[in-house]
Every structure is written in C-alpha cells, then in structure tokens.
C-alpha cells in the first residue's frame, strides 16, 4: 500500500543526543513540515532543526508556533493536506494537544507527535518520567479512539522509529505517538543514521492520498477533512470504522523485544529508559543465579498481550512491571495476565530514576519473596 522505501544505512555514525537524533531522522525521513513550541527536555529538537536549515537540504518547513495548541492544529492542516508533518513536546505541552489529537483521530489525519516525558502532574519538573502512559495509550483526548504508541529505549531508536511511525501514520491514517523521556532525549549515544529518503512530490501525494485536501482535482469530487457528523447513526457508523481499524492495528502492529526469557522463572516488563535499567537488573539477578528475563514493549498501544500470555502459559512464577510512574502500565500487564501469576509494580517517579539495584531489590521483595 505504501510507496515507502525501506531505510538504508551506510554506516554513518554520529554521537548525538536523543532529541538531536530524532530531529535529524525527521529530515532524513522526508518530513515536509515540523511545527513546535519549546519546552524542556525536548527543545533541542526545534533548535537542531532551525540550525540545520532543512529547507535548504530537503525543502522541509520548520515553524515555531505560538503554542502547542497551534502546533497540533498546524499538524491537522498539514496532515489533512497529505503532507508528512511532525511536532514534539513534553508532558504539559502534550496535554494541550489532546483536543487536536482527538480531532485528528476523528478526521483520520496522519501525523507524528513525540512526547519527551517529564515528571508531573502539573508543571512537575524537567526530569525523566513515564507517567504519561495512561494519556498516551488510553486515548488522551475525548471520544473513543486509540493512537499507536512507539517507545524507543535508545538514541538509535529515536532515529529508527521516525520512518516506522510515518509508515503507521499513513497506512492507518492516524496520529502516531513516539514516547520517550528526558533521559533518552538528553543522553548522548552513538547512532547509525539512515540515508536521506526523498520527500514525496505533490504528484505522488495526490496519487497516494486521494483523500488529501490540497485543491479539488479537475473533474473529480472535492475532499473534506472533518470529525463532525451531527447524525448520531452516521457518527456511530464512523466510529465502527475507527474501531475496526484499531482491531487491525492490534492484530498486525504489536512490537516488543524479548530478552533472556527462554529459561526465566521471573519476568520484568519495562519500556523505554526503564527497560534499559531493567536489562542491567536482570544481568545482576543472573549473576546471583536468579533466572530473570525482560519483556520490552516497543508498541505501548497495541500492547504486547500475546507474548505476555505465552510467557504466562510457559509457567513464569511472577512478573514485575517496572515503570517511572506510580503504576500505570501495570494495569495492562494485569489485564494480559488475568490473575494467572503474580504481578506487581515497581517504580520511582516525579522525575526520580530507579537504579538497577533498586529494581532487583523490588523483584526479590515483591515477586520472589523468601
């Protein structure tokens, strides 16, 4: 369906912050427009883009909007006209975007939105957190909708997930969220960049996206982007269509990484930064002779229920859900496990990052016991 060339890598290595790798990936993925408003810890995205002059490299438009409300509605306009559009922000800014995201889910407008999550609630702090899980995977704005959510756990994935996100966004005509946190956004790592992909020409856009509103084609019907239908029966029908799309996404698009689970008695489930920390924790556990594995959800929605179910059926003795929150993802883990084995949550939050030792300690205390 997509005329989307696969990414090519030619060994182009760079040492970059996660936010910078994400911005560079946007240019290379052939994004047409970035619209954003500064907020720590992700302002490097727009700073990098402004400094790079992507207009000279690919013709990409970069605009600093007056607010996140404006940014997300710029994405509505741009995405609705068939262009690849992007914004990034951090928690308070993403909260402001929820009305717009709901309109885009309803109007089936593709776009990519990155949330470099910080501690909350409210203004919170500027330290890493994972407490926007509910908002990301349960809808976020008003109405019955879901958004695909990708959770990178390295600077490499901050780059690699950008083209994947666009493939999902246009295949399913939906906004796609990339959820990282202040740790991944700010840390520097080696990243292998993919080669520049061409931006679609206006002719290609018209051919690929006949729904896009960019001027009524001669002799054809006009196009409309809207989320409104005042007839409840028609709106219900539109909702049926959305729900069946979400079913397809749940069936087709689950991604997760399974590490050292073959022989594991106990499993840690963690995504993003928490997965990095937990990977160290399972290493420490194995040094002590404890057989612990890690399941890392890469898509937070759709949630990897099936792989979790398979581990439960294999007879794991307990699962620790580790997240820099007061316990949000653990609810989805419990829904997948259905009381067949013990499930507990562990995590520091409000911007505090747990150590691998704390995770191991929690695993011993809450799951393994004595």
């Amino acid at each position: 369906m997509m005329k989307q060339s696969k990414t090519n890598k030619m060994g182009e290595l760079r040492l970059m912050k996660g936010n910078e790798a994400f911005a560079e990936a946007a240019i290379r993925a052939g994004v047409d427009g970035y619209f954003g408003y500064p907020i720590t810890p992700q302002s490097e995205v727009i700073e990098y883009l402004m400094a790079e002059k992507p207009h000279e490299r690919t013709g990409m438009v970069v605009l600093q909007a007056e607010s996140e409300v404006a940014s997300i509605n710029m994405l509505y306009g741009g995405g609705g006209s068939g262009k690849k559009v992007m914004t990034s922000s951090s928690s308070p800014g993403i909260s402001l975007m929820q009305e717009g995201l709901s309109y885009m889910a309803g109007g089936e407008v593709p776009c990519v939105v990155a949330n470099v999550v910080r501690g909350g609630p409210g203004l919170g702090d500027i330290q890493p957190a994972q407490s926007d899980y509910f908002q990301s995977v349960k809808g976020g704005g008003h109405g019955d909708y879901r958004l695909p959510v990708l959770a990178p756990s390295s600077v490499q994935e901050m780059s690699d997930f950008v083209p994947i996100a666009y493939e999902l966004a246009f295949r399913y005509r939906t906004p796609v969220l990339i959820i990282s946190d202040g740790l991944i956004g700010q840390m520097m790592e080696k990243v292998e960049l993919f080669d520049q992909m061409p931006r679609l020409t206006d002719e290609e856009i018209n051919e690929l996206y006949p729904w896009a509103t960019n001027g009524k084609p001669k002799g054809k019907k006009r196009r409309v982007i809207t989320s409104l239908d005042l007839d409840p029966y028609k709106l219900e029908k539109h909702n049926f269509k959305l729900q069946s799309k979400y079913k397809t996404i749940e069936a087709e698009e689950v991604r997760c990484e399974i590490i050292e689970c073959e022989d594991a008695d106990y499993i840690i489930i963690a995504y993003g930064s928490s997965a990095r920390i937990s990977q160290k924790a399972i290493q420490l556990a194995r040094e002590e002779g404890l057989k612990v594995g890690l399941l890392r959800p890469i898509t937070l929605w759709p949630f990897p229920k099936k792989p979790i179910n398979e581990l439960v059926e294999k007879g794991v003795k307990g699962i620790l859900s580790v997240e820099m929150s007061a316990g949000q993802m653990v609810e989805d883990v419990k829904l997948a496990v259905r009381e067949r084995t013990k499930v507990e949550h562990f995590g520091r939050y409000g911007g505090v990052i747990h150590s691998p030792e704390e995770v191991l300690e929690a695993l011993k205390n809450q799951i393994i016991g004595d």
């Binding site: 007056e66 509605n73 710029m74 609705g80 001027g215 009524k216 001669k218 006009r222 409309v224």
Partner: protein, 261 residues
C-alpha cells in the same frame, strides 16, 4: 393572448444572475436573513471568477458556519474551535502555490482563537481570513461574544453587557490592522445590495492579494446580523445593526497595501 408562465421566463436568454457552481445544491442551514449565506456565496463567486476552484483549500470554523464545507464546493477542512488560522498556516506553508482561506465567527476568531488569529496575522501568513462579526455566539444559542455591544442582551448577559465586569467589545480588526503582518484589512456588511457589492469587491481584493503573493495576510470582516440570537425579525435586525453595530464597527477599508488609512 395566453398567460405567461414561469416556464416562459426561465430561458437562457433571460438569465441575468446564476448561482455559482462553487456552491453545492445542499440547502443552507442558516436562518433566513442571516449574513452567513450571502457571505458564503460571495467567497465562492470570487473564487470562481478568479478561476481558483481547483487550487483552493478552505478552513471552516466551529460556529454556525461549521458546516461551510457542505455548501462550498471545494476542498475543505473543518478546524477545532478557534484554530482555523493555525490549520491554514500549515496548509499554506506546505502548499505555497495554493489559495488558502479561513472563514470564522467572532467567538471563534476573537475569543477562543485570539492567539491563533493574532499570531497568523503577525507572521504575515499569506492567507485570507473572512470574519463574520455578528456580536453573539449564534450556534450555541445566543451567548455573549467578545464583540457583543455594551448593554446588549444575550443569554449570558441577560441584563445587558456590563462593560465593568464583562469587558468592552473587542475591535479585533483594528487590533490586527496594527500588525505589520497584515497587508489588507477591511470591514464590510452584506445587508443591502450596495453593501453586498462593496463586500464582494473587498473579498476579491483579498484573494487577489494572495494570488499576487503580496506580503502579508488579507483580512475582511463582515458585520452581520444574527436575527435568531438577537431575537429580532430579519429586517428589524438589519435596522438595529445599522443603528447600533455600524457606529461601533465602522465600515470601510482600514489598511490598504500594508498602510493604515
């Protein structure tokens, strides 16, 4: 001599005026006598006369004209309440050769969307904004708008707008005219044939500016009645508008070719 029937009159040689093909055949959802319908028609006539039907993207607001896309036979997007200028900004930036306009009410443009309006104007986005000022929230049943006149009764100012506690009517058009980003700013009306002719000229100038890639945004306010919201007969509402709205919202051009008049 047999009687002349309507069939004898409707003949191509007798046509003096036709509905523009850029209006769909759907019957308008507006109250009889409301200025929204006339203004829709003017915008569509102008786009047809300029030959832009295949190169224009319109952005509808939330307000009585939320369904503008049902009546305007061109590519359209329906924006969230107040956000049309942001939506239009991105479309224009990404499709610079296309014509892009928003069509917004006073609540949409001058209350919830004030930031988007001011910043799109201030950036000098090369779009057209058509602004219907009826001094009230028509769609939601006649609540007070930022443009409601002092003393004017609405469902949320049932004893009349008290400027001490509710603020003064906002002259958003004069405000954005101060910004270097606006190129053409005009205030018109559509309640009489001569007003309609003037309004059409202003709307045409606004779109012509965009076609000519003039530096900045073109903004046309149309002071209009909301006979339902004002709880008046259509004709009485036009008289009331002339007597009360026009002295506060003076008709005419405010800024031409980037220069305040």
């Amino acid at each position: 001599m047999s009687e002349i029937t309507i069939k004898d009159i409707i003949k191509p040689e007798n046509i003096v005026y036709e509905k523009t093909s850029l209006m769909t055949d759907k019957s308008l959802s507006y109250c009889p006598g409301c200025g929204h319908g006339t203004t829709h028609r003017l915008v569509m006539e102008v786009l047809e006369e300029l030959g832009q039907e295949n190169d224009t993207i319109g952005v509808a607001p939330v307000g009585c004209s939320v369904l503008a896309y049902e009546f305007m036979n061109i590519d359209m997007q329906e924006a969230a309440h107040g956000r049309a200028p942001a939506v239009a900004t991105a479309i224009k930036r990404l499709w610079p050769d296309k014509i892009v306009f928003t069509y917004q009410g006073d609540g949409d443009l001058a209350a919830i969307g004030t930031a988007e309006t001011i910043h799109a104007c201030n950036r000098g986005e090369k779009i057209v904004i058509v602004f219907i000022n009826n001094g009230i929230y028509g769609m939601t049943g006649g609540q007070m708008a930022p443009t409601t006149l002092p003393g004017m009764k609405t469902s949320t100012s049932p004893y009349g707008r008290d400027v001490n506690s509710m603020g003064n009517p906002l002259k958003i058009t004069e405000l954005i005219a101060q910004l270097p980003g606006t190129y053409y700013v005009s205030r018109q009306a559509v309640h009489t044939p001569s007003a309609v002719r003037k309004a059409k000229k202003a709307i045409k100038k606004a779109f012509q500016n965009q076609l000519d890639d003039k530096p900045g945004l073109s903004f046309v306010e149309v002071v209009s009645n909301c006979n339902s919201g004002w709880k008046m007969e259509p004709v009485a509402s036009n008289v009331w508008m002339e007597e009360n709205m026009f002295p506060y919202y003076e008709l005419g051009d405010i800024k031409l070719e980037g220069n305040l008049l």
